[in-house]
């Protein structure tokens, strides 16, 4: 099964995988299968767990048809040129019984059998990847015209955001894509396909209405509250709280990266929210203004200066160029610092895009 992204240049992996039995067990418990690629993220547990916890396959979607979500994940990964996620999603669809030919037709949108709603969702996914929040208002209207309810639209936005997050998290450190691309061609995998499909199918489940335990008090709180009642909200809240609690990078440094992504995507509401949080961290308005205008300020420390500039590279990217830039950081940061920076910027890109759709701003 030839992948349409095989020609996309992909650098050698920046980091080494680290065995972590608790992480393996966590993945197996939630998805039914081990996820070997998580070992690359083991030094930053919140990031590794977020990759499992935010996957739309496992109990996060209540209203949106799972097939639409699956196709959306495939198309957004294709649009973002993430060879790993694209191959992983193809392998997932294949293991669940979709033929290689059907997958190829879906990718090329050749099939006239795609429902108009699916086509509208695909168009939204593409728009978010190419244009971002600037196109959110039109995209929202197009989804509404296609017949999606508000709750379905939130889940579509979440699916795209989660995929944007996965795509960046796997692209920046150049997690090896070849084994995943070759998986459906291996005889053993072909033989085990029904078994794998069954194992995944057993853990794949629809979500149920879930109350938000407590109000949030951090940037993106408004986004989470806008999703209250859906299982997406507590999942996102847990991930964001774990991200703040992690200490590889300072809170101020993380906020600065979020601010740069919000500015690059033109998301004013996120920018205000993050600006207030930075003020609470003691950063004055003039300094923040300088950082956002010129990606630099004398008040920044060396790590902040590096990562503020790196954050803007993650907004629109060519995989190989982004991987080369991440490689330059590899010599100047520890592996946990680098991975945390990758996690924060990846999450920021997803959440900003989702915020524009869910909260109706751009």
């Amino acid at each position: 099964m030839a992948s349409a992204l095989e020609h996309v240049a992909w650098e050698a992996c920046l980091i080494d995988p680290q065995p972590d039995r608790s992480l393996d067990a966590y993945a197996r418990r939630k998805t039914g299968l081990p996820i070997p690629s998580l070992r690359y993220f083991a030094p930053v547990p919140w990031l590794a767990r977020a990759i499992v916890d935010l996957h739309p396959e496992y109990g996060l979607l209540v209203h949106l048809d799972q097939d639409v979500a699956d196709i959306l994940t495939l198309i957004v990964s294709q649009e973002n040129s993430c060879r790993f996620c694209y191959a992983a999603q193809r392998a997932l669809l294949w293991s669940q019984g979709m033929s290689a030919a059907r997958i190829e037709r879906v990718e090329q949108e050749l099939s006239t059998k795609l429902a108009p709603r699916t086509t509208a969702a695909i168009a939204f996914g593409r728009t978010q990847s190419r244009i971002g929040p600037a196109a959110a208002r039109d995209a929202r209207e197009a989804l509404r015209r296609a017949g999606f309810s508000d709750e379905e639209m939130k889940e579509i936005a979440f699916t795209v955001a989660a995929t944007d997050f996965f795509n960046r998290a796997y692209t920046m450190p150049a997690i090896p894509a070849r084994p995943m691309e070759r998986m459906p061609d291996q005889l053993l995998m072909r033989l085990m396909r029904p078994l794998i499909g069954r194992m995944i199918g057993r853990h794949r489940h629809r979500g149920e209405a879930t109350p938000l335990e407590r109000p949030s008090a951090y940037p993106y709180a408004a986004l989470i509250e806008a999703c209250a009642g859906l299982p997406i909200a507590p999942a996102l809240a847990r991930t964001i709280e774990a991200m703040w609690a992690s200490s590889h990078l300072s809170r101020r440094c993380k906020l600065l990266m979020l601010a740069v992504v919000a500015r690059g995507l033109g998301c004013e509401v996120c920018a205000i929210d993050i600006g207030k949080a930075l003020e609470r961290e003691g950063l004055d308005e003039a300094t923040l203004g300088q950082v956002l205008t010129h990606l630099d300020a004398p008040e920044l420390d060396e790590v902040e200066r590096l990562l503020v500039r790196f954050a803007r590279e993650t907004i629109w990217y060519d995989p190989a160029a982004l991987q080369r830039r991440a490689r330059t950081l590899r010599d100047r940061l520890s592996v946990p610092e680098l991975l945390e920076a990758i996690g924060v910027t990846s999450l920021a890109n997803g959440l900003c895009r989702m915020g524009a759709m869910v909260m109706g701003h751009s």
């Binding site: 030919a101 690059g264 010129h294 990606l295 200066r305």
Partner: protein, 271 residues
């Protein structure tokens, strides 16, 4: 006897069915092979097109399939005009093949600097290059990016001149003009041939600034508008007001000297 006959019929039917199924399978395999070959051709075509137009634009066209061209959009972008100084003398001194090699080296270095700083080459105009920053995707840091790109070109052409000197070839020099302003970005041209372009006053003014570099004896000139948006870490020198075609009043411009020493390390990080 009847049993044998029935068995024969059954075997024959199974054989016919098997042959039919085999043929269907072969046909399916064939179709899949053709589909894969067509997809590979399309990929190849897309890659080839990416050499002629910005990759993002090509991807968008391929994904949008047979839909008509997306409408051009109003944007604020930064335009850069780069030109080779003394091209006529150079072309008189060098054989055409050698001239082409020198020119290719120049185009490559300038394009790499543009690409590395998130700009894209709009078109080649003779020995000149028009580039845009922030025309395809939103880029609030487009002014700084353009000036960083210009400084990278200066360094890169300096290194290229050292290579040319080793081969006994004459050095080349470039002039760069940069301005920022509103305009229309999108696919433009005739029905037969279209290209992604940005049109607006800033593009014309960037070309005029590039021509002014010769008059002022500098290599990088930016407009007053662009200066207002730039990182204060860039060292700029105001040039005497000069008459520019199409402008009633003499125009004040700024030569870019470089970046202040305290900012150099962070500039290197960004590059």
């Amino acid at each position: 006897m009847t049993g044998t006959f029935a068995l024969g019929i059954a075997l024959a039917a199974i054989a016919v069915l098997a042959i039919t199924l085999y043929r269907q399978w072969r046909r399916g395999e064939n179709l899949q092979r053709q589909l894969r070959a067509a997809a590979a051709d399309l990929d190849q075509l897309q890659n080839a097109c990416a050499r002629l137009a910005p990759a993002g634009v090509v991807r968008r066209l391929v994904a949008d399939g047979m839909q008509p061209d997306p409408a051009a959009e109003r944007k604020v972008a930064t335009a850069m005009f780069v030109d080779l100084v003394g091209f006529t003398q150079l072309s008189e001194r060098l054989q055409p093949e050698l001239l082409q090699r020198v020119l290719d080296g120049y185009y490559q270095r300038v394009s790499d600097a543009i690409d590395e700083h998130r700009g894209h080459v709009g078109s080649y105009v003779g020995d000149g290059i028009v580039a845009y920053f922030g025309a395809i995707q939103p880029n609030p840091w487009q002014c700084d990016d353009a000036v960083h790109a210009a400084l990278a070109m200066r360094a890169s052409i300096g290194a290229y001149n050292a290579e040319l000197a080793r081969e006994g070839l004459p050095p080349i020099a470039i002039g760069i003009g940069i301005d920022r302003g509103p305009g229309l970005a999108g696919l433009m041209g005739s029905r037969e041939r279209r290209e992604y372009a940005f049109i607006g006053r800033a593009v014309n003014f960037a070309a005029r600034l590039q021509a002014l570099t010769r008059q002022h004896g500098v290599d990088i000139l930016v407009s007053e508008t662009l200066r207002g948006e730039l990182d204060p870490g860039f060292i700029l020198t105001p040039m005497p007001a000069a008459a520019v075609k199409g402008f009633a009043e003499p125009v004040v411009t700024y030569a870019v000297e470089g970046r202040s020493a305290s900012q150099l390390s962070s500039a290197a990080d960004s590059a």
